[in-house]
Amino acid sequence: MRQPDIVSETRLKALREEAARTGEIKGGGVVPGGAPFPRPNTPGYYGIPLLKEPVWTWQVPLYFFVGGAAGACAVIGFFAHVFESDPALARAALWIALGGGLLCPLLLVADLGRPSRFLYMLRVFKLAPRCPSEPGR
C-alpha cells in the first residue's frame, strides 16, 4: 500500500479548515457565492426571510398620509367652528378634510387584489382590525 501523499493531504486539510472557518472557499482564484453548506453568518434557513413581506403598494402609505392630514384638518376645522374666530379657516379646513376623507377609501380600494369586492369589508365588524383607524373609515 502506498504512503499517503503528504502534499495533497496537507492541501486538503487547509481547504477544509478554510471552508469551516469562513463558509467560503477562496481557492483556484474563484470565490463560490451562496454555497448551501452551513455558513456561520447566514441567518435561519439559507437567509430566506421567515416572515412574508407586505404586499401593499404605494396607495397604502399615501392613504396613511392623506388620512392623517384629513383627520387633523377636521379637528382644526371643528375648533375653528366652535370658537368662531376665523370662519374662512373653518371652511377651508372642513373642505380639505372632506376631500381627504373621500380620497382615502379610493386609495384603499385601488390597493385591493380584487377591488370589485371592496364592499365585503362591511360584512364583519371587528374590534381587532389592522390598525385602530380602520373602523372609522
Binding site: M1, R2, Q3, P4, D5, S8, E9, L12, L15, R16, E18, A19, I25, K26, G27, G28, G29, V30, V31, P32, G33, G34, A35, P36, F37
Partner: protein, 112 residues
C-alpha cells in the same frame, strides 16, 4: 402533473465537494462540465459537504455525484448523463448497470 414535478428539480446538477470546488475554481450555482472518455455533460454545480474526498491507496480521490439522469425534452431540458457511461444493461429488465465512471470535472460550460 409535469410542471409540479419539473419545479422540484428544474436543472441537471452535479454535486461537488467544497475541496474539489476550491481546487478547480468551481462556483456553487455555476456551471461545470463533466467529461469522460465517452462524452461530456454540462450541469449546474451544487457544492455540498455531503460529498467527501476519498482516500484510496494513499491517494486523495475526489468524487462527484449526478443523481439525476435528466433528459433532452420536456419542460426542463438538459444534457443526458447516460452520455458519460457505456451502455451496459441488466439482462432481465435492461436497467442501466453502469453507475460509477472515471471523469474529469471542469469549471464552466466547455465546448466539446
Amino acid at each position: 402533473m409535469l410542471p409540479h414535478l419539473s419545479e422540484l428539480q428544474p436543472e441537471l446538477f452535479c454535486e461537488i465537494s467544497p475541496e474539489l470546488a476550491a481546487e478547480r475554481g468551481i462556483n456553487h450555482g455555476g456551471w461545470v462540465t463533466v467529461v469522460t472518455v465517452r462524452g461530456s455533460v454540462v450541469a449546474r454545480a451544487l457544492v455540498t459537504p455531503r460529498i467527501q474526498p476519498l482516500r484510496i491507496d494513499g491517494q486523495v480521490l475526489h468524487q462527484v455525484g449526478l443523481p439525476y439522469h435528466w433528459g433532452y425534452c420536456g419542460l426542463v431540458k438538459g444534457d443526458v448523463v447516460n452520455d458519460l457511461v457505456a451502455i451496459s444493461e441488466e439482462p432481465n429488465v435492461r436497467i442501466m448497470e453502469t453507475k460509477g465512471v472515471l471523469c474529469n470535472v471542469l469549471p464552466g460550460r466547455q465546448a466539446e
